[in-house]
Amino acid sequence: MAEFLRSIPLFWAKVISIFLYLLLALWVITRPREFIYRGAPDGKGWRDLRWWAITLIGIQIFLYLIF
């Protein structure tokens, strides 16, 4: 098992982490709107936390692609 893990190229660490980020993004965008806005004083677009999360995930994927 240890031998097998050691044989995995480092490139796959990036692939796994980016795949996990994409999975998280998919989960985030499928959250219902009423859940996201619960407790918000109004329904303005900037309060949609899904976009906050997608922006954060996008920045992360960019960083992991370049480093």
Partner: protein, 505 residues
Amino acid sequence: MKEVLAQHIDLFLIVVYLLAIFLFGVLFREYVTSTEDYFLAGRALPWWVIGMSIIGTNIGAYDYVGAAGGAYRFGIAQANYEWLGAIPAMIVSALIIIPYYWKNKVYTVPEYLGKRYKEGVRVIEAVIYGLFLVMLLGIFFWASGIMLHTYLGWSIGFSIVVTAIVVGFYTISGGLAAVAITDVVQLGIMFVGGFAVAGVGFAKAGGVAKFFQTLKAAHPQHLKVFLPLNNPAYPWLGMILGLGLVLSPAWWCANQSIIQRALGARSEWDARAGMMFAAFPKTLIPLLVVLPGFFALMFAPSGAINNPDQALPWVVKNLLPPGIRGLVFVAFIAALHSSVDSTLNSAATLWTKDIYQKYIKRDGSDRHYLIMGRILTFAFIIFGVAFAPFTEKFPGIYVAMQTLLSFFQGPTLATLLLGVLWWRSTGWGGFWGLSLGVIIAVVLSAAGVNFLYVAWWSFVASLLINVVVSYLTPPEPPEKLRGLVYGFLEKDQEFKRAVEERLNG
């Protein structure tokens, strides 16, 4: 003459900072009239204060020194602690976990676990976290003493007492509100100081592009975010499994110091948005803590740095001009204070709500618990000051504290996740999963397993034990799970109505 003047500017900046922070305590004192004011800022915090306070709490002076040292030795892989080891967990915390804390109007994470499982789980979690936070205070005070002694020449004892008086005064006076607002100011100072270091370093290197070209040519491995499995500190699998999937979610979903700000939110949306907003400055933290390590790598002459933890002090001492140096020093002090105040307030909250109010005096008035919260805060300051010198006797104590954290982070996360996400998880499942998970973590650690893998395997073991014991014990009655479990709240109309009724009093 020029050096003396520069030293006076630095000293002036430090004194102005200490006085300004002291005044916050005076200003906030009148707003604290109940335990809710003291422990949860009257549940009035807006999202941006929560977000900045969370990051102020998260970043301590030790992070600056340790992370810069890590970057000096291993490179950008150190940034995993701020990226993969934080951002996903913060998003999950904001969208799944925090709504359950906030809706149940709890003061502490153990209080939620006690409601969801049984009192035994609350006691174990409260005692573990309570002791951890109190011991952490001693380390923070000692670090503060060392910094003031090194920079200003004050004696360590005097430095510790000054820190205790300044931080203790505004924490006891203003409670969480004063702590959160000072955290905002302190985070601002940290970023100004961090950007100043980055600006000076890049200027000296001939620009950002030139800097990275030179670094890549001289140290190509330092710009790789993942390191091979045989790396002693940051093996890539350990980073993904241990840090990304266990330690980080446990920190961002179950750490009382972090979560308490969200519990003080003025609305559920503010609580979630606060955590999400915190992830933006968190993304930028490597600018503050990783870049100085790179600057030391690039500019320090061979042999100048014997210990990686000297990387940041070397940069401050040798690269920064007077004035900027004082500003960066104030940023360190601010980072330290923002961690001390949050730890103090959270320790007092845990011991007052989960131990004192639950097991020592159940029928006290709100005013009684407010006074007790303040007395405990004061007691923890005294304990922290008294414990601080012992930190010197154990040079590895900070590392030991990190290892200690890995003993209970995995089992805590497993217990919390199953509690929130799986209705079938029972009180005994939570109790045995948490207790045996901690024991397994201790055994693995004693066997010399890397702490990242200790966290992962104790998490897996705790998860399995919880599931097996839960299936062997009768399910919890539905009325006990109302408003506490994800599936129930989202799907069941009756439970939805029950939650609404509970929220409406």
